[in-house]
């Protein structure tokens, strides 16, 4: 049996003013672990003081775990204010899908559809 080979981790640095966004994902299956990350590393612009009713948000994430816990995958994305970001996840029947960050939506295990919580998201700016 071949030994576990860690997934490559690559981060790209881009010097672009007014651009701040990144995407990353991590995964595990059995005893395997891995992750991928890309994006511009320009710091996010300072946020203005929160205003009443301000629902701006720049971080999205999703975590998927199979029913027996042997497989899991997660992805997270960030973007500067005014940008767009979205995540989606799904798994085999019985899996749980949990959203974190801006669109924190928890799907209780007993409400997970038989398709493992497949889903989709879309965002326009």
């Amino acid at each position: 049996m071949r030994n576990f080979i860690p997934l490559a981790l690559l981060a790209c640095s881009l010097s672009l003013p007014a651009v701040a966004q990144s995407s990353s994902a991590s995964v595990s299956a059995g005893n395997l672990r891995g992750s991928v990350t890309v994006g511009a590393n320009t710091p996010l612009p300072p946020k203005a003081e929160p205003q009443r009713g301000d629902d701006r948000c720049d971080s999205h994430g999703v975590e998927v775990r199979s029913a027996d816990g042997s497989s899991s995958a997660s992805a997270s994305v960030t973007t500067s204010l005014g940008g767009s970001a979205v995540v989606a996840g799904g798994g085999s029947p019985g899996s749980t899908t949990r959203f974190v960050g801006c669109e924190a939506r928890n799907i209780p295990p007993d409400h997970v559809p038989l398709d493992g919580g497949r889903n989709k998201g879309e965002h326009h700016e």
Partner: protein, 134 residues
Amino acid sequence: MNKILIVTTAVALASGAAFAQGAATGGSAGTASGNGLSASTAGIGATSGNSSALAMGGSAAGGRTQSRAAVHGNNNLNGQAMAQAHDGGDFAKSHTVCHDKSGDSVECRTKTMAHEPGSKPVMSTTTGGATVEQ
């Protein structure tokens, strides 16, 4: 006079493959950027025995942006994430597609492209995946 673009394009890509008995993980990601626009997508999947999990994400910044991600399927999962940003004739976009075959393999592919008027588009494709060792 044409403006000078910061052309850092379709560069970031990451892929990985891992092997172990009865399990596989794989993923890919990419970023396209230029002239104040940037778009990134990532996808990653895992399968072990009869279970599988797949997560996708995308983000875009600068100009007008659009991002979309979805996962479909039961045991065999298909996912895609798309992100793009454009401003006039400049655009950057990234697209990741993943196929997670339960108990068999995970394959992801990311394509990125950035373009400015008057220049050839710069494109990149990367794949990452693994097959369960039988």
